[in-house]
């Protein structure tokens, strides 16, 4: 590029320069649309369009520590300080799901989808799709808690469509969300909703590739900076800080990696299990996450029902309790039931009952209580019919599908689907269905009895007040007796719904018990005692059996994620305060065109990774103000086996007078650098943004044979490439800028934040048409 041309054409068209309300600490572009999600210092999430129109703002109430987009751009994953990862809908910011997979702050998130469509050849199954949608109407949703204004609960409330969309993962490509926390744990979840693995990098041992030494090393006090999953899901590069120490089981006294090995390390984890078993994992995750949704529906239904029923019962008792005091006041030694019975029998109307019915309850009161109780009963019935029963049925179906998968041992044992556990879970799902039916019967007869009782009561009141009682509904006196005997001061419905500590056995008719026992011979449930459990208890048991069954894939996969390689990058000051010191880093994977692999390489290796990072001043005083770029880390081990190393690195010296604020890898191995002028004081001065073509840089191959003694960068001391401002695409920015720099690879835009609360959006692909006057 000629110099004089460079003067005329200013790269990166400025789209706008707008003020922002508060300082931004995280910003990420949507991979599919021109949307920018930002997190402010006070932990609000803002979503802006490309024209800076704000779509929505939400504040989760907890400190946000990381953010990333789902690969299809329809959801945002947010990592919180307390270790929760929550998903938000892009449309309205509603919380879709939240999963507390970590115990400490989630500092980085990476959501990668399988770059390839599921292929049909190679014996891969792609034909097996989820049958559920074919056989069932859309799955039931969580019933609304009455009296709660929508929006208050926040969790899966109004967002029915998007919730549906999230659960129906069959149209999605296989994708995995990785999240890393401050304590060195990394969690993996399929579709961001089904946890499939958790590892802690403290537990890894790293064999040294040093010739002649057999020492293994561990990382101490590791904290994760960044995770990046390769596009084929086979590798995970982790940037973490920590202290590398020799595993002390070795009897050797030489401690090469003793002190001073605290620094930034790059780890390469082998996650090829995700690639190898992606079809299986996809199936399992799809069924299992749907099952978890449905158990959520059941749980919510149970609690809503319990709440509604106990409210209604409370009203009932509130109205009817005065009767017993009235009876005592009248000096009678009897109970309300007895008094009512004698009224029903027509023997006499005792004064307290008369007083109660005519004065304290009255016709209006009786009608009101009747409406409350019967209305609640009706609501409960509808919840069972529309939510509980369908959910239980679909759970049964999906469990059956999973059972089918678990029997295909050749395929699914590898992902930890265990047949006996799934079988057990299927049985529990079946028991729940029986329990739901029984509950429905109890509920319906209770409701019937209540309404019958109130019909009778109304008639009595009318008679006592000597008013005509023609238009009243008929009643059945026998049912009224049963009601007084069994329901007046007992509440079987609530007992069935409530989970109490005390093991309350439900009394079962002898006949039923015999039938259940007999059914065992017909292939019934082996556990004959299940009818003695309450509905809530049964649900609890079912849930724990599900948990047990799904824990198996989780632990199996976790065990299969192994550490392949470790690359110490540079040391960090070992004071604990600086562990949170942010080091601008960026990891990206590119289609490897230059390194055309030999033909026997499978498609998984056609990517090359680039790791770029700023080197802090303190770590290498002799090579200050540099940026390191390493590539080929992923292929390193394979190459080592072949006899040559492909791990290469280069140091970029930032031009004098500038220092790097943030950097980001852009497409086609380009790096976008954000530089501030060092000379001026804080808050003033200019900055610039530049793009450097990385693959043209003179990379130096790093030999691994002796590298562990030194930080990887020591080898590069001699070969620093100094950037010349004149030779690169540079755009000066008339503000002092701060991190973060948000670059969208797919959309070709970058957003820069100035220290004075401004946001500037540049189109990286277009040059400014003419020298703008605004400059």
């Amino acid at each position: 590029m000629e110099t004089d041309e460079d003067q005329r054409v200013i790269p990166f068209q400025l789209q706008f320069d707008k003020p922002v309300a508060s300082q931004i600490k995280i910003a990420e572009w949507n991979p599919e649309k021109d949307l920018l999600a930002m997190v402010t210092e006070d932990s609000k999430i803002l979503l802006h369009r490309f024209n800076w129109q704000r779509l929505w703002t939400i504040s989760p109430g907890r400190c946000i520590t990381s953010l990333c987009w789902r690969p299809d751009g329809k959801a945002i994953a947010v990592g919180l300080e307390d270790g929760t990862v929550s998903l938000h809908d892009v449309e309205n910011g509603k919380l879709l799901r939240s999963l507390k997979s970590h115990t400490v702050a989630v500092v980085c998130l990476n959501w990668e989808e399988d770059g390839h469509l599921i292929r049909d050849d190679n014996g891969n199954i792609s034909t097996y799709e989820d049958r559920t949608s074919c056989f069932f109407p859309p799955a039931p949703r969580v019933p609304r808690m009455p009296g709660v204004v929508s929006g208050d609960t926040g969790f899966m409330d109004d967002n029915e469509d998007s919730f549906q969309e999230l659960s129906n993962s069959s149209h999605q490509r296989f994708n995995i969300l990785c999240s890393g926390d401050k304590d060195g744990s990394i969690c993996f979840s399929i579709f961001g909703i089904f946890p499939i693995g958790k590892i802690n990098i403290h537990k890894f041992c790293f064999p040294t590739p040093l010739v002649g030494t057999q020492a293994t090393y561990r990382l101490l006090n590791a904290s994760i900076y960044k995770v990046a999953l390769s596009k084929d899901l086979c590798h995970l590069i982790v940037m973490c800080s920590g202290e590398l120490i020799e595993d002390n089981d070795a009897s050797r006294d030489r401690r090469t990696a003793g002190h001073g090995m605290h620094g930034l390390h790059s780890l390469m984890l082998d996650t090829s299990i995700f690639w190898k078993r992606k079809n299986e994992l996809h199936q399992v995750a799809q069924q299992a996450s749907n099952i978890e949704d449905l158990t959520e529906v059941i749980r919510a239904s149970l609690s809503v029902m319990c709440k509604q029923w106990s409210d209604a019962m409370h009203t009932f008792h509130e109205k009817f309790d005065p009767l017993s005091t009235l009876i005592i006041d009248h000096g009678l030694d009897s109970s309300p039931q007895e008094e009512f019975l004698s009224l029903l029998g027509g023997a006499r109307t005792s004064p307290p009952v008369h007083q109660f019915l005519v004065n304290s309850l009255g016709e209006v009161g009786a009608k009101r209580v009747s409406k409350v109780v019967c209305g609640a009963g009706k609501e409960l019935q509808l919840i069972v019919l529309n939510h509980l029963q369908p959910a239980a049925e679909i759970i049964g179906f999906r469990m059956g599908e999973l059972r089918g998968l678990s029997r295909w041992r050749a395929r699914y044992q590898g992902v930890g689907l265990d047949e006996t556990l799934i079988n057990n879970a299927t049985e529990k799902a079946g028991m729940l269905l029986v329990q739901v039916e029984r509950f429905m019967r109890v509920l319906s007869s209770v409701v019937q009895q209540f309404s019958n009782f109130f019909n009778w009561l109304l008639k009595c009141i009318k008679l006592l007040m000597s008013e005509p009682s023609d238009q009243l509904l008929p009643y059945n006196s026998e049912l009224a007796v049963i009601f007084l005997k069994f329901l007046y001061d007992q509440d079987p419905v609530r007992k069935l719904l409530e989970l109490s500590e005390a093991d309350c056995d439900i009394e079962i008719e002898l006949e039923t018990m015999q039938r259940v026992k007999e059914l065992v011979h017909f292939g019934g449930f082996l556990d004959c005692e299940y009818l003695r459990r309450t509905l809530a208890k049964e649900f609890q048991q079912m849930e724990s059996s599900f948990k047990e069954a799904f824990l198996m894939p989780f632990s199996t996969i976790s065990e299969k994620i192994l550490c392949e390689n470790l690359l110490p990058l540079f040391s960090l000051p070992s004071s604990p305060a600086s562990t949170s010191f942010p080091v601008p880093t960026s990891i990206s994977y590119y289609e490897d065109s230059s390194h055309a692999m030999s033909s026997n390489q499978t498609s998984q290796n056609s990517f090359i990774d680039y790791i770029s990072f700023q080197i802090p001043e303190e770590s290498f005083p002799e090579i200050a103000n540099c940026i390191g770029i390493a590539r080929g880390f992923m292929n390193d081990l394979i190459s080592v086996k072949k006899g040559y190393s492909s791990l290469e690195a280069v140091l970029l010296g930032v031009p004098d007078g500038y220092h790097c604020v943030d950097l980001s890898l852009y497409k086609e191995s380009q790096i976008v650098l954000l530089l501030n002028e060092t000379t001026s004081s804080e808050g003033s001065g200019d900055a610039c943004m530049m793009i450097v073509q990385a693959n043209d840089l003179p990379f130096v191959s790093i030999s691994r044979s002796t590298s562990l003694d030194y930080w990887m960068l020591h080898q590069l001391k001699e070969s620093v490439v100094y950037l010349q401002m004149e030779n690169e695409k540079v755009r000066s920015i008339p503000h002092s800028v701060i991190a973060p720099l948000a670059v969208s690879t797919s959309r070709g835009v970058a957003c820069v934040f100035a220290a004075r609360k401004r946001a500037l959006v540049y189109i990286l692909e277009e040059d400014e048409d003419e020298v703008s006057d605004a400059e």
Binding site: I125, G345, L385, Q389, A410, Q490, A502, V516, L519, G524
Partner: protein
């Protein structure tokens, strides 16, 4: 039958309601003349209080378990004073018992009582109805017809109650339309679809004339029931011009479409009349219809017209769920108040229990926890007919899942029925649930357990002619005989199954197709290919004629199987493909998986260069087969998979023998449970060859021995240890 009693109950309830409305109850004493002096006719006001006090005193003799009643009604066992009310209650309960126990109800004993009753109280016309029901249950056509006629002749359908306020509208014909409805249903019960349809059509006409909407709704439901049960040949045109409600719609509708229109109409009518139970049963009928029929839009043009020619399982599910809404709605039905005294039996039973003494004593407080569930032990106050309908929705679910292919759900739904509904349901429905469970056992756990369960079931449901248990037994025997290679026995059982079906065309279609399907399979097992193909062909023609699409898929698959066995794989392919497409459009996923398996086997037999294709076909179907297929299907899939690997020239046994040995050993385990000698022998043969290639001689010998054992068993079937052989 269900519907019949259901209507009967309906009518009774109407009458009860009317009785209640008139605020008085007549206590007529039906006692021998000799005792007449002792008592007087009492007309008691139906005051709730007095009524109750009456009851507490005298409910005990009111209703008895049937065997009790038999004793009580012996002519010379003492003095009996029975109120009209009591007799009505007794008859009501007997009607319920008749429905519940079906043909196991003793015909003669009950007939004797009824005759006695009739002699003592000739004005109690309901006795005739009970006699009708009794003879209906015992398949006595002439007696049933006679009693039905007598009932309507005497009472004009107005029961044996002394006063009947004239129903609104003209009542000059009595209740002619109801009589027709009953007659139609009786004909249907006896398997005379033509007469039934004629009578019911007449009932529709009369109901319309008299604007008796309720009766019309029930009649329409009965016609739907009839049409969906009997096989109506496409060409016969039974409905033709004689059926007025339909001819007005159009002429070109097929029988199925007519049925659909009828169902919709009936549902709408029932909904508008707020007949909740009828609505539920209509939903069930709709679900049944949707299960096996492709909904073709009557108008199909334009860009939005769906070209999807498939059944719609979600509709089935929706209809089933709608039908279960009955449980929350039955209380709102116009007249469902349970009759007073309905609970007294159970109630008294409970009083005898020790806890009964604590009814009213308030010493709870600590024991309140236990007491709360005493309510659950109480007889449910939900009317039996409601429970019956809800229960049948579970049965239908189980059937649907058998077709759609979800073994766990089919089993669970049958279990829900068997656990929760057997007390309220008729014995034939309960038997059906148990039959399903036993079939499930046989398919998934082998014959040993199935026959053990069958034995219990046989005792439980005393088998009579045409009972499902008997059919099930024959089915199981046939399957096992085929697997063991007892072809003579298989043929014998198969013939016996065929005999059970009625000879009238269009009746018992299910049984007829099953019998001839089994016949074809037996022939196939005997390697009589052309005969088997001929039987299958004629079966296909019959299924086609009667629109039995689901069965068609099975028959086509059988034809493919015949060609596969006879070595004409190329001829078999089109049949397998046709079966596949049938399965697809009817969502028969399990059958589809097994058709896919057959297809793969056909490809494999065309040569080793098709092994890859066959393998991918099998692997595509494996999740379905392993999850929902029975032992036989699973074993076949395993064997086919292993064969695919073995015949693939690029596959080397020594490198990954696991891939082959693992499925083979699983197949061998499953086939031994099933005692399927032929396939087991094949499995062991394959295993032996694999071990041979691997050089593991010991294992090879073991497999070879097993092979030999199974071949011997196949050659000389031993029937000495067969306990059921002599049952036939």
């Amino acid at each position: 039958m269900d519907l019949e009693n259901f209507v009967f109950k309906k009518v009774t309830e109407e009458i009860e309601a009317r009785k209640r409305a008139s605020e008085r109850v007549s206590f007529h004493l039906h006692a021998p003349k000799a005792l007449f002096d002792l008592v007087e006719d009492i007309e008691a006001p139906a005051d709730p209080k007095s009524k109750h006090s009456d009851k507490v005193g005298e409910t005990s003799p009111y209703v008895h378990p049937p065997n009790y009643a038999l004793k009580e009604f012996e002519p010379n066992s003492g003095i009996f004073l029975r109120t009209n009310w009591q007799i009505q209650g007794y008859l009501q309960e007997q009607a319920d018992a008749l429905e519940k126990n079906g043909s196991s109800f003793s015909l003669n004993a009950f007939e004797l009582i009824l005759r006695q009753l009739h002699k003592l109280a000739p004005e109690l016309h309901r006795v005739h109805f009970l006699r009708y029901l009794n003879s209906l249950c015992h398949d006595d056509y002439f007696a049933a017809l006679e009693n039905l006629h007598r009932y309507f002749d005497y009472s004009a359908g107005t029961e044996g109650i002394d006063f009947v306020p004239p129903a609104s509208g003209s009542n000059s014909f009595g209740r002619y339309e109801i009589a027709l409805l009953f007659l139609g249903m009786m004909h249907f019960q006896f398997g005379h679809p033509k007469q039934a349809l004629e009578v019911l059509t007449e009932a529709v006409r009369v109901s319309q004339q008299l604007s008796n909407d309720t009766c019309l709704a029930y009649t329409l439901a009965a016609i739907c029931n009839l049409l969906s049960e009997i096989g109506v040949s496409n060409t016969a045109g039974i409905l033709g011009s004689s059926f007025s409600p339909l001819t007005s719609i159009g002429i070109s509708l097929s029988v199925q479409q007519q049925l659909f229109v009828l169902l919709r109409g009936s549902l709408k009518r029932a909904e508008s009349l707020k007949l909740k139970r009828l609505v539920a049963s209509n939903h069930l009928a709709m679900a049944k219809f949707d299960l096996t029929h492709v909904q073709r839009p009557l108008v199909s043009f334009g860009p939005k017209a769906s070209m999807k020619l498939r059944t719609c399982p979600t509709n089935v599910c929706k209809e089933l769920r709608l039908s279960s809404h009955l449980i929350s709605e039955f209380g709102f039905e116009s007249s469902t108040m349970t009759t007073d005294g309905a609970f007294s039996t159970a109630w008294l039973k409970n009083l005898q229990k020790p806890l009964g003494s604590a009814i009213l004593s308030q010493e709870n407080g600590s024991g309140s926890n236990e007491n709360a569930f005493q309510f659950c032990v109480q007889p449910s106050s939900i009317p039996g007919s409601v429970l019956q309908l809800i229960g049948s929705s579970y049965l239908l679910r189980a059937t649907a899942w058998e077709l759609y292919g979800s073994a766990p759900l089919a089993r669970i739904n049958a279990l829900v029925y068997a656990t929760c509904f057997t007390d309220a349901s008729s014995s034939s429905d309960a038997a059906l649930a148990y039959v399903k469970l036993i079939q499930h056992l046989a398919v998934f756990r082998g014959y040993k357990e199935a026959f053990a369960a069958l034995k219990i079931a046989e005792e439980k449901f005393l088998s009579v002619s045409k009972s499902r248990i008997l059919i099930l037994k024959l089915q199981l025997l046939h399957e096992r005989a085929l697997h063991r290679g007892h072809l003579k026995l298989a043929q014998q059982v198969c013939d016996e199954l065929g005999v059970l079906a009625s000879s009238v065309t269009g009746v018992d279609m299910e049984l007829k197709t099953e019998a001839s399907l089994r016949h074809a399979r037996t022939l196939l097992a005997a390697n009589q290919y052309s005969e088997a193909a001929a039987v299958a062909h004629s079966l296909f023609c019959m299924c086609y004629k009667f629109n039995l699409q689901v069965e068609n898929a099975t028959v086509l698959l059988l034809l493919a199987e015949v060609h596969k066995r006879s070595g004409n794989a190329v001829l078999g392919l089109p049949y397998a493909l046709a079966s596949l497409s049938f399965c697809q459009s009817f969502n028969l996923d399990l059958l589809k998986a097994s058709a896919t398996l057959t297809l793969a086997e056909l490809w494999l037999s065309l040569g080793s260069n098709h092994a890859k294709r066959a393998l991918s076909l099998i692997q595509g179907a494996l999740p379905m087969i392993l999850g929902h297929g029975g032992l036989e299907l699973r074993a076949r899939a395993y064997i086919a998979e292993a064969k695919c690997y073995l015949s693939d020239p690029s596959f080397s046994v020594s490198e990954n023998s696991e891939v082959v040995l693992d499925p083979l050993s699983q197949a061998s385990v499953e086939l031994q449970v099933l005692e399927y000698h032929e396939l087991a022998a094949e499995t062991f043969y394959l295993m032996a060859t694999v071990f041979h290639k691997l050089g593991q001689l010991e294992e090879r010998e073991e497999a070879a021995n097993s092979f030999k054992k199974h071949m011997m068993a196949l050659k000389n079937p031993l029937d000495d240890e067969d306990p059921l052989f002599n049952v036939l």
